[in-house]
């Protein structure tokens, strides 16, 4: 167990280092884009005076290196800074609303994203595990083929296409579910779930194939090993062989794939958000890149990177815990 703590600490340290590198890369990249916040927000109205005035207000007239370290110093103290987009108007009225802090702006959006990811995971993970196990059990049968073809076609189609197909069948032709998923804070859980279902189903179709096929492959891989042969010779039922004997040993790769897909659900669902008008963090992120709102872009990237790092760490920990040989290394 001691080694486990050491691994966690080591990984967390590396994770922090990664976050630092990510923030440098993102900051540089956003600065290299043509135009800056002042020009983006003023559009056709970007007179030199107005641009200079906004730049001065936001400190954009400072050299990038200084701005980066100012931002970094804030982050270390837990302050993600102020969103340019909101600061722009508060700065000359002299008031600061809760919205102007990056935290205040991201928090509700991030909660929505986590909600969508949670609902999707609650559907997709059990479904893909069950399908994977059944496909392994009845491998090369008609069932196996149908499941494979269906999941592979859904993963091969672009997300927006799947989304529109679902809208067509579940919202337009048979009005079962709302096509707009504009959830908001004072909405009851029931309505929220109802509105989130279509995007969640779309995402389920996107992520199922990956997890299901990994489950199937990992189990089938093990089915050739001698100890499974032994179990079969004992006369155990095929279902029991798979669930009790094969699955525990196949968990490590499956957990890894699940973790990857969960991270994808948190970071990569902009298209689905746009189609369903879901107020998640992805839309905020794209808006912010468009506006060159560097503090928000940075904060989003940190969240995305942290999601990947933490989920991967969790996956590794769980594979270690699921494997006695790794749990008790000699």
């Amino acid at each position: 167990m001691k080694s486990l703590t050491r691994i966690v600490l080591h990984r967390l340290f590396l994770g922090l280092l990664t976050l630092f590198v990510v923030s440098v890369v993102i900051f540089t990249a956003v600065n290299m884009l043509p135009g800056d916040f002042a020009q983006a927000i003023l559009g056709q109205g970007a007179t030199p005076e107005a641009v200079a005035s906004i730049r001065r207000d936001l400190g954009l007239d400072q050299p990038p290196v200084i701005r980066y370290f100012q931002w970094l110093a804030g982050v270390i103290q837990g302050d993600l800074g102020r969103s340019f987009a909101q600061a722009n108007f508060t700065s000359f009225t002299g008031t600061t609303s809760g919205q102007s802090s990056v935290m205040g702006q991201i928090a509700p959006r991030f909660a929505n994203t986590m909600f969508l990811a949670g609902v999707t995971a609650a559907i997709a993970v059990p479904v893909s595990l069950a399908l994977g196990i059944l496909a392994a059990l009845y491998r090369n049968s008609v069932f196996d083929r149908v499941v494979n073809i269906a999941t592979l076609s859904s993963i091969s189609s672009p997300e927006f296409f799947l989304a529109y197909i679902l809208i067509l069948f579940l919202a337009v032709l048979n009005p079962l579910l709302p096509s707009l998923s504009n959830i908001y804070s004072d909405m009851g859980l029931g309505e929220r779930l109802e509105r989130t279902l279509l995007p969640a189903l779309t995402l389920t179709l996107v992520v199922t194939a990956h997890m299901m096929r990994m489950t199937r492959a990992a189990i089938i891989n093990l089915l050739a090993s001698p100890y499974i042969e032994m179990a079969r010779l004992k006369g155990l039922s095929p279902m029991r062989v798979i669930l009790r004997h094969a699955l525990p040993n196949a968990l490590a790769p499956i957990i890894n794939v699940i973790a990857l897909n969960l991270a994808y659900l948190i970071t990569g669902v902009v298209v689905v958000e746009v189609v369903f008008v879901y107020p998640g963090i992805g839309q905020l992120f794209v808006d912010s890149v468009k506006n060159r709102d560097i503090p928000v872009v940075q904060a989003c990237c940190l969240i995305f990177a942290a999601a990947y790092i933490l989920l991967n760490l969790m996956a590794d920990l769980m594979s270690i815990l699921s494997n006695p040989r790794l749990r008790h290394p000699r």
């Binding site: 020009q39 109205g45 096509s179 107020p279 905020l284």
Partner: protein, 514 residues
Amino acid sequence: MTRISRRGLLRSGAAVGVLAATGFPVLAQAKRGGRLRLGLNGANTSDSWDGRTHSDAFMVNGAHGCVFDCLTEVSATGELIGELAESWEATPDAKTWTFTLRQGVTFHNGKAFGADDVLESLSMHVADGAKSAAQPIVASIDEMKKTGDHQVQIVLKEGNADFPFLMSDYHLLMYPAGQIDEAIVKGIGTGMYEVVSFDPGVRFVGKRVASHYKDGKAGWFDEVEFIAINDSSARMNALLTGQVDAVNRIDFKTEPLLKANPKIKIFEVTGNQHNTFPMLMDVPPFDNLDVRLALKYSVDRQELVNKILQGHGAVGNDHPIGPANQYYAKDLPQIEMDPDKAKFHLKKAGMENLTVDLRVSNAAFNGAVDSAQLYQASAKKSGIDINVVQEPADGYWSNVWLKQPWCAAYFSGRATEDWMFATAYEAGVPWNDSHWTDARFQELLLQGRKELDSAKRRTIYYEMQQILSERGSTVIPMYANFVDAAASGLAHGETLGNNFQMDGSRIAERWWFS
């Protein structure tokens, strides 16, 4: 961008006497009730209730059309009527304007509306460091003073017959004096709907105030909900599946499909919005009038309207005054595509053929790149080789527009001729994107501004349009319509406002559930 315009009489400045505000026509069939749900684009996370920053449909409909009022309003039929101002009068030189304000109006927080609110609300546009699109309007004011609790006197630096029209600009919202900061954060105005919740870039919910000075003339819904749907397919979907009652800015490509749906009504108006190709007239080869004319004769305007706007627009005549303006010169000879004339002018300029760069991006207007390519193809016939250079959409307005000798741009049009010319065609103004200067044009501009006589103004503005059409340095091939759609359960008055999308951005006031 200001997209206010009007038809009909310029009642405001027509006479010195007091002109009573006429109000809306009484609509017997309109009835109260229901929650209007709109799917609108143009929403941003940077949105706020600060009128100085408004530029797109979501906030213009929300602030100008629901929560806040201006001094004056352009009615659906294009007349100027009083909103918070009851009446106004001018001295004969159109320099001093006196506005009498409506009495008994309160803000949503209970504060009574009066002269101080007007002075402070206007001043915020010229405050130090303020970035207001309406800054030039307020900057033209020399002195503002309170002449009574409900009367203000505004003295202009130069006479301006159109001044009351300018007061209907959607940036010039009336805020409660002394509480402007709070009003900007919470959205406290005098409008028909007060803010229930507002999530920038996501959603706005408003509730009808219990009593309002427009009662019986407008404001039929109990509640309004605006949902930010920037993606056009998602907007169409929301309308088709009944998630919203109306949407703005229809995708022209899917318009025929929507039209075929019996549950949907399309509403379309031609306004002053126009797409342009400005040439810098002090940069060779555009400093040669014959080169400019050759280029003007080389574009197939009707083709652009048909293919880029899918017919939802009208051909332009190289001047920025649109069909929604009062002094629109509709009998001005239309410039047609004519390769022979183009070749003639090219020859006169001493050239056999001509190669020019045209820098475009779809940031300039939707379909700008395709338009440039069509222009390129049609100009080949006159021996002109247009080299279409695609520029990145990011930073287009800062790096290309006003800087490159020939590029693409758009203007949403202005309520009055003078305002439009003063924005982009007056010598030396920052947005003069063709560096246009012409002695006669400039003389007429100053003359027209002070003129209160409608007939004389007509002659002046006709000549100015003619000058731009014949000598101007901007190719204006087309006017783009405002095309919106609504569920068939919604009803509206006889005429739709053509100064902005969604019935002049007043759908929440003017429409009702039948």
